[in-house]
Structure formats: structure tokens, C-alpha cells
């Protein structure tokens, strides 16, 4: 059984009274990371994540792992969105100024946001997906493997290789060298 399948336990249903707060907490805790994840896959990340949450609300039972479920649904919706959107190339060539909206500005940053976004954008889509899911989605390699339908070992290799690419691409930033 998939780890994000439903539990069969109606007591955990998001539809039960009071669980509106649980939904709100999921939005608060994972909303931004899900949008960042979707941003790497499609042109309309906020809309995709909104739709994913509405699908969660429409579930008869709460998924066993709501976060993994949400990432899975966001991925499917985003990929479907891309298939029907011929403007994808425009997104990939978006100006750096637009890309800065990927992250919140931070005063004492060690990594320049614009450089980070540029480096992330230069990754292959599959690699970027792994990095975002791992770092900002705080998912395990096993969860990402299930999400992307590859082995955990493959995810791990992609992740490490992508970190090296990113580090190389951020040579101008003030990140701390080991």
C-alpha cells in the first residue's frame, strides 16, 4: 500500500468537525514549500497548490501521510498543467528579478537569493524536484522515491550530484566552505 493512501479510519478524516484547523495547519506548515515545489514544475504554482488542498478537503478520509499526499497531488497537477501550457519555455527563460520571488528576502544571507534561484533553475527539472522536496519539503529519500517513481538510491545520487552542481553555481556567494 502506498504510504500516502488513506487510512480507512474515519476518525482521522479531514472532514470531521474541528479538522478545519488541521487543514489550516497543513497550509501554514507546508504551503510555501509546496508552492516552491510546484514553481519548479509549472507556471501556476499557487493555483496548483490551492487545487491540491481542495482535493485533500474533498477526500473521504485523511491520507495517512498528508504531506506526502499533498506533494504527490501537487506534482500530478503541475505536470498536467504543463502539458496543457505552451508557455513553459517562457517560464524557463523568466527574468532573474521574477525568480527572486522563490524565496523570502533575508538580511544576513550567506547565499544570494538571485544566485540560488538561478542555480536551481539551471538544474534539470528532475534534479531540482529532488532538491526542493528534500530541503524545503523536508521529505526523506524514500518519500521522494515514491513521489517520483524511482528508487531511493537514484534519488540520493541525484540529490548529492545536484548539491555539488548548486555549490559550484554559487561560487560567488558567501556560503561557508568546509
Amino acid at each position: 500500500m502506498s504510504s500516502h493512501q488513506t487510512t480507512g479510519n474515519k476518525a482521522e478524516s479531514p472532514l470531521q468537525t474541528g479538522n478545519a484547523n488541521a487543514i489550516a495547519r497543513l497550509i501554514e506548515h507546508h504551503g510555501s514549500a509546496l508552492v516552491l515545489y510546484a514553481r519548479g514544475l509549472c507556471d501556476s504554482p499557487d493555483d496548483v497548490v490551492q487545487e491540491a488542498f481542495l482535493k485533500l478537503v474533498g477526500q473521504a478520509e485523511m491520507p495517512r501521510q498528508p504531506k506526502a499526499w499533498l506533494f504527490h497531488v501537487v506534482r500530478n497537477l503541475a505536470l498536467n498543467s504543463v502539458r496543457s501550457n505552451i508557455r513553459r519555455r517562457n517560464r524557463e527563460q523568466a527574468a532573474p528579478g521574477v525568480r527572486q520571488s522563490w524565496f523570502e528576502p533575508v538580511p544576513e544571507k550567506q547565499i544570494e537569493i538571485s544566485e540560488a534561484v538561478s542555480a536551481l533553475s539551471n538544474l534539470d527539472s528532475e534534479d531540482r524536484e529532488v532538491v526542493v522536496a528534500k530541503i524545503w519539503g523536508q521529505m526523506t529519500f524514500e518519500e521522494i522515491a515514491e513521489l517520483t517513481s524511482v528508487s531511493a538510491a537514484t534519488v540520493y545520487r541525484r540529490y548529492v550530484a545536484s548539491l555539488k552542481k548548486l555549490r559550484s553555481g554559487l561560487s560567488g556567494s558567501r556560503y561557508i566552505e568546509d
Binding site: L15, N19, I23, A24, S32, V49, E104
Partner: protein, 173 residues
């Protein structure tokens, strides 16, 4: 879930990984209120069940999380107008009557109800409490506006209204 040792991150990348994680994703533009609202609506429908009568609807304490007091005010008026219990042209206070008329004139009932709630003056709040109290006396917990829209009275006195646009008509028509 525990990571396998074979998936450990090389030491030379750990610090860089932490610094990347220090970048916070930009704030999302998700309409959380709409999602929570939908969660409440689903909750009502689930609790109600297909065979329940209106009088057996369980009144659920969801309004405080879903609708602010003023939105609930306007939704109450909307419900009363739709139920024929409040005539926009009838003997109500001027502000309430005006709000009700504005709502009836619009097609997107809920959006207008929310917007129009801001028109209520503080002195109208006692009237709001009165209509809410009166509504609580009813043995009707759900009123349908048509095929796709309905309002549900909640246990805390709030109103839960579908966001499906609906064309309302004055009960005096």
C-alpha cells in the same frame, strides 16, 4: 521514517545543505480561507448524511473558524431574505434593509454578502443579534437557494453559505 546510513550526505556538502535550507520559500498566495471554508462545508455534508431531514441536521461549530462576525451578519441577512423572513422593502432598520436590498440585487450572493457586511454600523449589531437569535429558534438548519446553493445554520449562530454564485430574488417578487 529513518534514513538509511547509505544515504548519508557527504560531509563536504552538509554545511552547504544547511545554508540552502536557511533560504525560506516565498510566502504562498493560497486562499486558505476558501480551503478551510470548503472543509467546513464538506464537514456539514458528511455529518448530515443523505437521509437526514433538515431538522436533524447536526449544527456544527464551524462558523468562527470559517466566517468572521461581519460576514456571518451579512450571510444571516442573506439567509433571512432568501427564506422570506426578511423583506428588503419591509419594516426593518434602514441599514439592514439597504444591505438586504443590495444583496438581492446581486447575483453573486456570498461575495456580495461578505462585502456588504462592512456597511453595517455598530448600532446595527443589536439588530444582528436579534435576527441571529430568531434564527436559532427555528427548526430549520438548512435553506436551499436553488440547485447549487444553500446556507447552513451552525450551532454557534454563524451561517455557512456555499460560494456558488446564485441569482437571488426578492421574496416580495
Amino acid at each position: 521514517m529513518t534514513e538509511f546510513n547509505e544515504f548519508e550526505i557527504p560531509d563536504e556538502l552538509r554545511q552547504f545543505e544547511k545554508q540552502l535550507a536557511g533560504l525560506k520559500p516565498a510566502a504562498h498566495l493560497i486562499d486558505a480561507q476558501e480551503i478551510v471554508f470548503e472543509a467546513g462545508r464538506q464537514s456539514v455534508l458528511l455529518e448530515r448524511g443523505p437521509a437526514s431531514s433538515h431538522s436533524s441536521v447536526q449544527r456544527l461549530a464551524i462558523s468562527s473558524a470559517l466566517l468572521g462576525a461581519m460576514a456571518a451578519t451579512a450571510a444571516t441577512i442573506l439567509l433571512l431574505v432568501s427564506a422570506g423572513m426578511l423583506n428588503p422593502a419591509g419594516n426593518t432598520t434602514p441599514a439592514l434593509s439597504g444591505v438586504a436590498e443590495d444583496i438581492v440585487d446581486q447575483e453573486n450572493g456570498v461575495a456580495v454578502a461578505t462585502a456588504q457586511a462592512d456597511l453595517l454600523e455598530p448600532e446595527e449589531l443589536p439588530a444582528y443579534r436579534n435576527v441571529t437569535s430568531a434564527l436559532n429558534e427555528l427548526d430549520v438548519a438548512e435553506i436551499h437557494f436553488g440547485a447549487n446553493s444553500r446556507a447552513v445554520l451552525t450551532s454557534s449562530g454563524g451561517i455557512f453559505v456555499d460560494r456558488v454564485p446564485c441569482a437571488l430574488s426578492s421574496p416580495s417578487d
